[in-house]
């Protein structure tokens, strides 16, 4: 009944959904959809970046003091981990494009390993903050921490708490997106294993990859803004 304007002899790819006329239209739609979704994510994180920007301008010394106490080495490692994971995503897609099943599956697995490593390192960081009583709430304590460059001026604990609130909410939201990303990649791995992806059709990989790259880019902004305030 629903016949596209292209030929009758099309080998009807089971992946072509009925409401699309051509595979190209379907792929274009999926890509556009994911780009728009990422646009909404930019706005979502944007509100937090806006709040961060305003309070950083208002309370710079206190933010600098608080930022010094989070582990930039761990944060830096995580940055490297995520960048590597984006590389493996690209390689996985290349594997699909060139029918290299081993590369595709292997790199998908590597991506997930990197993702889990990221979350693990994050967990270590959070535990550190918990132990130092830097988690906002009743047990928060930031007394007698000097402002960088002014050893006799103590940071205002209330302003430091705002830094840590934003730190936890921003990195926490990011970690949540990582977890969702891992879920997506679990499905992608399963589908790749089942042979669903071919050089002609691997749109879910592309679209999932876009998402993963976005999560990576958010981290690339978060890292210097949160970990590297006023470091020389």
């Amino acid at each position: 009944m629903a016949v596209s304007s292209s030929s009758h002899e099309d080998v009807h790819n089971p992946a072509l959904l009925h409401h699309f006329a051509t595979e190209e239209q379907q792929r274009d739609a999926s890509n556009l959809g994911m780009w728009i979704f990422l646009g909404t994510e930019v706005m979502f994180f944007g509100g937090l970046f806006c709040a961060y920007l305003i309070y950083r301008l208002l309370y710079f010394p206190d933010f600098a003091a608080a930022s010094r106490t989070i582990d930039a080495a761990l944060g830096g490692t995580n940055t490297a981990v995520l960048i590597c994971s984006s590389l493996t995503v690209v390689l996985a897609i290349w594997g699909a494009q060139t029918a290299r099943r081993g590369v595709m599956i292997g790199c998908l697995i590597l991506t997930m390993v990197f993702g889990l490593a990221f979350l693990g390192i994050k967990g270590v960081e959070y535990k550190q903050k918990f132990d130092e009583h830097h988690v906002p709430g009743p047990s928060f304590n930031f007394e007698n921490v000097p402002v960088p460059g002014h050893p006799d001026q103590m940071a205002n604990p209330r302003h430091a708490q705002i830094f840590f609130s934003l730190y936890f909410i921003m990195t926490g939201l990011h970690a949540l997106h990582m977890i969702v990303g891992l879920g997506i990649f679990t499905w992608l791995l399963w589908a790749a294993w089942k042979g669903r992806f071919t050089p002609e059709y691997h749109t879910p990989l592309e679209v999932g990859g876009l998402y993963w790259h976005f999560v990576d880019i958010v981290w690339i902004y978060l890292f210097p803004l949160l970990y590297l305030i006023d470091r020389h």
């Binding site: 009944m1 629903a2 304007s5 959809g33 728009i36 979502f44 944007g46 509100g47 609130s165």
Partner: protein, 549 residues
């Protein structure tokens, strides 16, 4: 052409193709999803309306004698939240948009049918959470959630309400995303941008606002919930925070949100006026571009809700001047609609009566926006009944009338039945009269100084007369809304079967049977004509033929 006889064997269409609850709850057909939304938003409309009724009853007398203060505060809060997030924002896009966008562009469905269904489920879950919140104590912060009251002082279910609205936002975002991709990628051959019905342009503009604005209120609500739950201090001055930051973040979405509510209605009105004047809309490109201009400029004016909030004088000047800029495209639309009537061939069917009502009420509401944008006047009338009257003129006199007009216009297409025209015209009239009686006195009340959100005005008994008029109007308005509810339901069983195109309207959706088959078009249409080709239709050309694929 039209047949008045019930057909003995019903053609297969999207309604009778499958039966059973499962076929509805697991559908991916955009038309069925539209009906799922229709049922849910109508449900919430009556809840929000019930709250409004209680508010108006309380305000009949100066003393706070119907409900307690805390109850009243919950009533106006939940009236606002339900009406805005669970009725108005979904209404036209999720019902008429979902149903018509694919059909108007010649597509078989939206780009992402499963995401469309997901969108409804997200809405339903949010709605259930909101219902639970209302039934187990409610929330009393005002729909605006201002801090630090909402984060540190209110004793009600702020977190639950915040979460419910947060979740509902994703429904809105996904609908917008679906529409944008659909309009970009799924237009039938020959359906160029300049041949699109203006309903589509309006929904495109709305979708832009939905995807860019909603995430900001989402994250704002996350912050409010986190602050309240964990005593953070992002918005609490006692902990170093800034309550005005909340207002900026909140209004950054909530102002564009009002354009989410009015733009689709403008799209509906455009379709109706063109059809019932038998004319192409005057100034098609200007109307199309105005929709986009409203969407863009709408993001630049949020702090006009904050002129007395403590922002600097210079910020106020900037936002005031931009607010006047955003008024221009809306004015342009009103002029274009009016000009369309000139030398038309006008019929007064119910949809057109709603369109006329829209023209009058939206004009009045929009003009009062000029009052509010004037800094000197804003200081006096903000936070009073003047503002309440202003936004109800736009949202109820504007958006809701457009919605009702659209429901009448496309009812035959959606259900395959005709509604009773006489009752419909009567209802339109009752709504118009009732509406004005309810809300016009509120402009006066506001200028006289009656603040909003007051349940007791016993110190100002001089306000009573106007309040009584307003409540009387609300009763009439209520009748006006109940009537369509009743005769629409009646028509689904007893209404005359509708022909494919009872209005001889232009538009691809009318080229299908009423109700349409599941996949809309037997063969993919190829478009070779401009939108609103009423001259060709009325010259007796057959309904412009589909090109056989």
């Amino acid at each position: 052409m039209a047949t008045a006889i019930a057909q003995p064997v019903e053609r297969e269409n999207y309604l009778n193709k499958h039966y059973g609850v499962g076929s509805w709850l697991l559908t991916t057909d955009h038309k069925r999803i539209a009906l799922l939304y229709l049922a849910s938003i109508t449900f919430f409309f009556f809840i929000g309306g019930f709250f409004a009724l209680l508010i108006r009853l309380e305000l009949l007398t100066p003393a706070g004698d119907l409900v307690q203060a805390d109850t009243y505060n919950k009533l106006f809060t939940m009236h606002g939240q339900v009406m805005i997030f669970f009725f108005l924002i979904p209404s036209i896009p999720a019902v008429l948009g979902n149903f018509l966008v694919p059909m108007m562009i010649g597509a078989k469905d939206l780009a992402f049918p499963k995401i469309n269904l997901l969108s409804w489920y997200i809405y339903a879950i949010a709605g259930i959470l909101m219902l639970h919140c209302m039934l187990t104590g409610g929330v009393d912060t005002g729909w605006t959630f201002y801090t630090p009251f909402s984060t540190a002082f209110s004793n009600t279910k702020v977190i639950e309400a915040g979460l419910a609205i947060f979740i509902s936002g994703f429904s809105s975002i996904l609908t917008g995303l679906n529409f944008i991709v659909t309009i970009h990628r799924m237009r039938a051959p020959g359906m160029t941008w300049s041949r699109l019905p203006l309903f589509i342009w309006a929904h495109y503009a709305t979708s832009i606002i939905q995807i860019l604005g909603t995430p900001v209120v989402a994250i704002t609500l996350v912050l409010v919930v986190a602050e309240r739950a964990l005593h953070l201090g992002i918005f609490d001055p006692k902990l170093g925070g800034d309550p005005l930051l909340f207002q900026h973040l909140f209004w950054f979405y909530s102002h564009p949100a009002v354009y989410i509510m009015i733009l689709p209605s403008m799209g509906v009105v455009t379709e109706i006026i063109a059809c019932f004047s038998r004319k192409r809309i005057f100034g098609y490109s200007f109307v199309a571009l105005s929709s986009i201009a409203i969407a863009v400029f709408g993001f630049l004016v949020w702090a006009h809700h904050m002129f007395v909030a403590g922002i600097s004088v210079y910020a106020a000047l900037v936002f005031s001047i931009l607010s006047y800029a955003v008024a221009v495209p809306s004015a342009v639309k009103v002029f274009n609609w009016t000009a369309t009537l000139y030398k038309g061939s006008i019929r007064y069917d119910a949809p057109m009566l709603y369109a006329f009502g829209f023209l009058g009420l939206f004009t009045m509401g929009g003009l009062t926006g000029l009052f509010l944008s004037a800094l000197g006047i804003n200081v006096h009338v903000t936070d009073t009944y003047f503002v309440i009257a202003h936004f109800h003129y736009i949202m109820v006199g504007g958006a809701l009338m457009g919605y009702l007009g659209g429901m009448h216009f496309w009812w035959p297409k959606i259900t395959g039945r005709l509604y009773p025209e006489g009752w419909a015209r009567l209802a339109a009239l009752i709504v118009f009269v009732g509406f004005n009686l309810t809300f016009f006195p509120q402009f006066i009340l506001g200028y006289l100084g009656m603040p909003r959100r007051y349940y007791d005005y016993s110190h100002m008994p001089e306000f009573q007369v106007l309040n009584v008029l307003s409540t009387a109007g609300a009763t009439v308005l209520g009748v006006g809304y109940l009537l369509p509810m009743m005769y629409f339901l009646w028509s689904m069983r007893y209404g005359k079967p509708a022909p494919d195109n009872p209005w001889r309207a232009a538009g691809l959706e009318w080229q299908t049977p009423s109700p349409p088959p599941t996949f809309n078009f037997e063969t993919e249409p190829v478009v070779t004509w401009e939108a609103y080709n009423y001259d060709e239709i009325d010259k007796g050309h057959k309904e412009v033929p589909q090109v056989v694929g």
